[in-house]
Point group: none
Chain length 408, copies 2
């Protein structure tokens, strides 16, 4: 798909913005969805002048992780490119991942010894310790654990209880070398799982990870809350071709969460500095850098966070907050203004879902006048229909008249 | 796709007509699209008795050339079959293309010597010289240039400034041997490009083409307008299986433009003689030959031409003209009557686009009663939904009850 687009690209320097309201799609909770309940006069005005439709992030019925959903929005087939959570987290924390590197997503956790002498996870997030404590702990770990055999170990603190481990191997590794079992049992009251290798090629690295876990346990043994670490998302350099390589497009990301900065960086987007964690501050960053890039990816996180927590009204408020800044974005006169979510996170379900996500695209070439609002039901009527998310970038480029004709 | 259909075919000699209103789809231009603006009482009556939907010619966001879009309508995967413009033009001009042949689409053009002594294209179409002048010029070229080394050269005049060159090679060639740069610089005031080979396998043919261009320049040097030729669309025999081979169906085309006759012939359709370039004359040809074929492809060109020229009202008139002859087609009692476009050509955009194209299919098996008109918005509601154009032939055959069950 990206090769096809790459062959047809005619980079006319159209100005494009893709706004991703994370997890914005919902299902009716007491009659209305979050988007239907929200008062969004500016989005309404835009929707009626836009081409509309809904995307399904992967294929019908599949609920995506944030990484896959975003890759799809960025035009990569999520079935072809599978990027581990570890790599996404690492990139988001400014930790470069090269061809020798294994990235692991870690959670500080609380364990206690069970009646049988075995460890039991009592809190998978160490009671969501704060970022400062996290920084103290990773510093401590970094001081004590530098190498295991010939493998160099790097710790990097993230937000709250999350951190990343990068293992620099003596040689180049690939996906097959990282096929190691997650140790997070995904529920409390259970034993941590073993970091066993899930195929024979992952044996060496699995051995290192097992030793690493013991070392971490020894360093943290006197901590009250964070006395253990759970691992998941073992992954290595995925080698995704960038927007610059594929299309000659200079792209920037405007995000407030590490993972999204990470996935932007993976496809070659320069992260813009956002001063405060607020939508306003993100739009200011956009305004300041408007002349420096062709393609902007603006990511708004809180719609998803509140959806995950089942907070319907708070999710509505984030949508309304975005609606208030929308006129500022419209004023920048993008050639293509696209707004969607990466997936649905219905607050009724308290989690990601597979439901189609509304999309609007405003350009000079929009088939306008079909949908009256940016809501699931209104966008379903639109002439983009329901389509796989990986086609969104085709449509965005088409609206920017950046693709040559296919075939004679 | 065509193999699947070929395996399931049950040729019951159903009478089928596929009407292609070239580029009929539009986007709202001042509220309405061309189809919405047109007064089409007969199409309206038909639409409400038909199954409806919209097709996208290739995939979401890709704008097709006419050749690819038609291949898709004829049931071939346009990603698999890529037919060069040269071959399409040649076939349309009754020039057979075999396995040893290279077909090139030529434009007579005007060049002058620039200040630096290099040629500059001052008119890419030689001021759109008339067809008679074109015939005189190709006759002159045919008399003077018969062979270059062991390669035989055939010229054939087309409409206005267009002509075709067929190079008969000493041996069989394939796509890789035709990978030569177009010489049309696509804008006036620029130098003609060189016909250089774009891969090593095209070196021999590129050398012949370069010599051919010099010879043409020498023959035309005293012409005032048409003193040069620009080349594009180098292509060879694509080897598409025909309707007869795949389905045992006798098919006919009713077209007024060479290229569409050409693409019909490629899939095995016999071109019917049309006396005058008018929709009426096309329908007369249909009436005359109704007993001789099972499948008719009726192509109406002007909807696209006016769309390309940005002439909204003229495009509307062609639609209305077709509406007036529709009762004559209905009177012929086809088992399946399908009407669509090959792609959209919104007059607002003055060019082909990627927007979905309305489709109606009338048969005894139609899910009727959903769409009130043959317009983009009304057909979007239909039960065929939005589908890739390559599936249209499945639906047409299905309505004719010509496909056996798939699977047990």
């Amino acid at each position: 798909m990206h090769n096809l687009r790459s062959n047809l690209i005619n980079n006319n320097k159209a100005k494009i913005i893709l706004v991703v309201l994370d997890g914005v799609g919902g299902i009716p909770n007491n009659v209305k969805t979050e988007l239907e309940y929200a008062k969004t006069p500016n989005l309404d005005k835009l929707a009626i002048k836009s081409e509309t439709g809904c995307h399904i992030p992967i294929i019908h019925g599949l609920t995506p992780g944030s990484g896959s959903a975003h890759l799809s929005l960025f035009g990569y087939d999520p079935m072809e490119f599978d990027i581990g959570r570890g790599v996404l987290e690492a990139l988001g924390l400014d930790l470069e991942i090269g061809k020798n590197d294994l990235a692991i997503r870690g959670n500080f956790a609380t364990v206690k010894e069970g009646d049988n002498g075995k460890l039991i996870v009592t809190n998978r997030r160490a009671g969501r310790i704060d970022t400062k404590t996290n920084e103290r702990l990773t510093k401590k770990l970094s001081a004590k654990i530098k190498k295991i055999n010939k493998y160099k170990i790097i710790f990097k603190s993230g937000i709250d209880h999350r951190f990343v481990v990068k293992i620099i191997c003596p040689n180049k590794i690939d996906d097959t070398n990282c096929f190691i079992q997650d140790t997070d049992p995904q529920a409390e009251g259970l034993e941590p799982l073993l970091a066993k290798n899930l195929n024979s090629k992952a044996k060496a690295l699995s051995g290192i990870v097992v030793k690493l876990i013991s070392s971490i346990e020894a360093v943290l043994k006197d901590e009250k809350k964070a006395n253990f670490a759970l691992f998941r998302g073992y992954s290595t350099f995925p080698g995704v071709p960038t927007f610059q390589e594929l299309y000659g497009i200079k792209a920037a990301s405007i995000t407030t969460y590490p993972m999204y900065k990470g996935i932007g960086r993976l496809v070659g987007m320069s992260p813009l500095k956002v001063n405060v964690n607020s939508i306003h501050s993100q739009v200011s960053a956009l305004e300041k850098n408007i002349d420096k890039y062709d393609f902007f990816y603006l990511h708004i996180k809180k719609t998803d966070s509140y959806g995950e927590d089942g907070k319907f009204k708070e999710k509505v408020k984030v949508i309304e907050e975005f609606d208030k800044v929308l006129p500022k974005i419209k004023k920048l006169n993008f050639d293509v203004l696209a707004i969607t979510g990466d997936h649905s996170t219905p607050s009724k379900m308290k989690g990601h879902s597979w439901h189609p996500v509304p999309v609007i695209i405003k350009s000079h070439n929009s088939f306008e006048g079909i949908s009256k609002r940016f809501t699931e039901k209104e966008c379903l009527k639109g002439n983009m229909g329901i389509f796989e998310g990986k086609y969104l970038l085709n449509l965005i480029f088409a609206h920017g008249q950046m693709l040559n004709k296919f075939g004679a």
